[in-house]
Structure formats: C-alpha cells, structure tokens
Amino acid sequence: MMSRKQRRLWLVIACGIGVSSATALMLVAFRSSLSFFLSPNEVLVKHPSPGMVFRLGGVVQADTVVMGTRDNKPYTTFRITDGQASIPVVYTGILPGLFRQGQGVVTIGAMTKGDREFVADTVLAKHGASYMPADVEQALRKAGKWNPKFGPAPNAATWDDKSPRTIEADNNG
C-alpha cells in the first residue's frame, strides 16, 4: 500500500520521464533548425539551393584572405573551412573586430548559381573559449607553439598557468 507521499513521488518521476523524453524527441526532430550554422562539409552534403539564405560557419582559412575595393566599397574574399571541406566566401562591407585568419566566423548569405561561391551580407566573429593575456600569446608564438592564423589555441595545459618566460624558454617542449 503506497502512502500519498509515495504516490506523488512516483507520479512526479513518471511525469519527469515523460516531459524529458518529449523534449528530447522534439530537440532531435528540430535538430537541423536548432543549429545556428552549417559547416562547409554540411553544405556540400546538403546542397542548399542557390539563393536560399543560410548561415555558413567555420574557420577563416589561413592565407586565403584577399581584401580590395569594388564600387568604393570594401570587399573581402576568403575561404571558410572546417578541416574537411572549404568554401569560398565573398563579403562586401566592414568586418567585425575579431575577424582574422584562423578565426571562427559565422556568415549569413547564399550560394551563387553553380555552387561557385557563398555571397555573405553579414560576417559575425565566433570567439573561442580561451582567454589569454597578450604577453602569453606572444610567448606561445615565439616558442613556435601557436600561430593564431592556423586555428585555435593549443591545449590549455601547456599555457594556462605558466609564466610567459617559461613558455618562451620551453622551446622544444
């Protein structure tokens, strides 16, 4: 014989399981629209039709950034990569402060006809999870452990509590 308390507890547990599985199913069903952007590889797989606006995200590939002016407006071409595929992007306008080679970005725009390139009308910079003072970044660079233009910071255990001098001295580590 269950007490009322016990009955209520089981009721709550049952409802909890119900609500969580309903939520989980919903999240799985809407998975694609919950993702804020598509990676280049996903774009190649899904083939969004030309002119359909979507968000393309990834890392600005090193040594692909070309800046110029067209009709008195600054324009930039670069490639966005996720390590597997890369897609050329054309953007006309002013770039956000964090934009650089090796930086994560999310761009909004559409593919041109024939899947040649992605024409972006907005570029948002995606910040990494690491926070590091300027002298630590310089030390890592000098030690040859990291060049920001080739991607995110190295394993945090190699720098998060070492003084810049130790990092620099630790050249062959």
Partner: protein, 60 residues
Amino acid sequence: MIKHVLPYVVGSYGAAILILGFLALTSLLRYRAARRRLAAVEPRSRRSDGSDHGRQGVKS
C-alpha cells in the same frame, strides 16, 4: 569594427551594480520591515523568529 570597448565594459559592470544593488536593497528593507512588524504583533517578549508558523492541516 568597434575600437572603443570601454563603454560596453562599464555598461556591464554598471548593470551588475544596479541589479545586485537593487536586489540587495529590497531584501534588506523587506527584512527590516518584516522584523519590525512581527515584533509589534508578537505576544509576550518572545524572539521574533517566526516559529510555530505553518499552514494548518497540510499533512499528507
């Protein structure tokens, strides 16, 4: 590109001071008022600790 980020930093800390200050101040004022009010109505000179309070008959 935004070069002057100081206003954004000041804004964040300002929001922290405003929101936390507001919450702290209202909590303090309410606590004092509640203590005073209870001391005024409490029979005898018992500590105003709110004991014996409870909803009657909510046993399950």
